[in-house]
Symmetry: C2
DNA sequence: TTTACTGCAAACTGTTTGCAGTAAA
DNA sequence: TTTACTGCAAACAGTTTGCAGTAAA
């Protein structure tokens, strides 16, 4: 039995076709950074009859369940990726659209320090570097 | 004559009431982080008859002219602030909506270093810490 | 007078929601 | 059988745009 089924049950969601398919897409895709539109189109192409509204609902549920993470990069639409234990930030290549992940504990550390200096606690954060190839 | 008039002329925009008023609002407001909606409402309250579409148009023109900077924080609507030479990042208090600016040269430095390690150059970046008061 | 600018309403994009039907448990 | 889930279409928020009128130069 596919692993997805267990993952879904674990978070209290019924095992339905749209959910299994979408979860598979995240696990299959190597880059792993997908928008609702990406997923919707890909499902259409494989002949699956899943509505866009359902894609959004499933993504919201997956995010609430901690299976995936949502990012609001520039450019309007949100993108999602499988949640992983290790936190990381992103570089977006503005020429190619490529998304590169990176981790830097020094930056993480400074962020918490800065918030603390203001008597604040970090609830979430977003660090995106928009980059291009060095000439 | 008000300074705003020169600034507008310098960037090749006619000196009109909506533009002068909006530019004044940015210079007057101490926090300086305003959304289109904020500006529109404030103008209504002072009895100015400026349409929301015009607010958006003016903001877009000001951004193109380099007078102001646009930020896409979480939560749907964009916010704008007067452009300044010194770069800074933002903390957004998720309870109050308050925006706090901060600068950290260590983080800046690391960002460039990380990009360089990948053979990339930073074109732009966005660092936002979503925070709340420490309990 | 000429041309840029404006307000209005209608269009658009990304996302959410109400509802009646459908399928998982 | 029960209840969660689905597709559809309609609603939504933030933003943009076409157009005919208005005001800056």
């Amino acid at each position: 039995m596919a692993t997805q089924n267990q993952e879904l049950k674990k978070v209290g969601l019924k095992v339905t076709l749209p959910r299994v398919k979408i979860l598979q897409m995240f696990e299959a895709s190597d880059c792993g950074h997908l928008s609702a539109e990406d997923i919707y189109k890909a499902l259409q192409e494989t002949g699956e009859d899943v509505g866009l509204a359902t894609v959004y609902r499933v993504l919201t549920q997956f995010e609430a369940a901690g299976l995936i993470t949502k990012h609001n990069f520039d450019g309007g639409h949100a993108i999602y990726e499988l949640a992983s234990d290790d936190h990381h930030d992103h570089m977006v290549n503005i020429k190619t659209g490529e998304v590169i992940e990176f981790v830097d504990s020094l930056i993480e550390q400074r962020q918490h320090q800065i918030a603390a200096e203001h008597g604040l606690t970090i609830v979430g954060h977003s660090l995106v570097l928009y980059v291009k190839a060095t000439e």
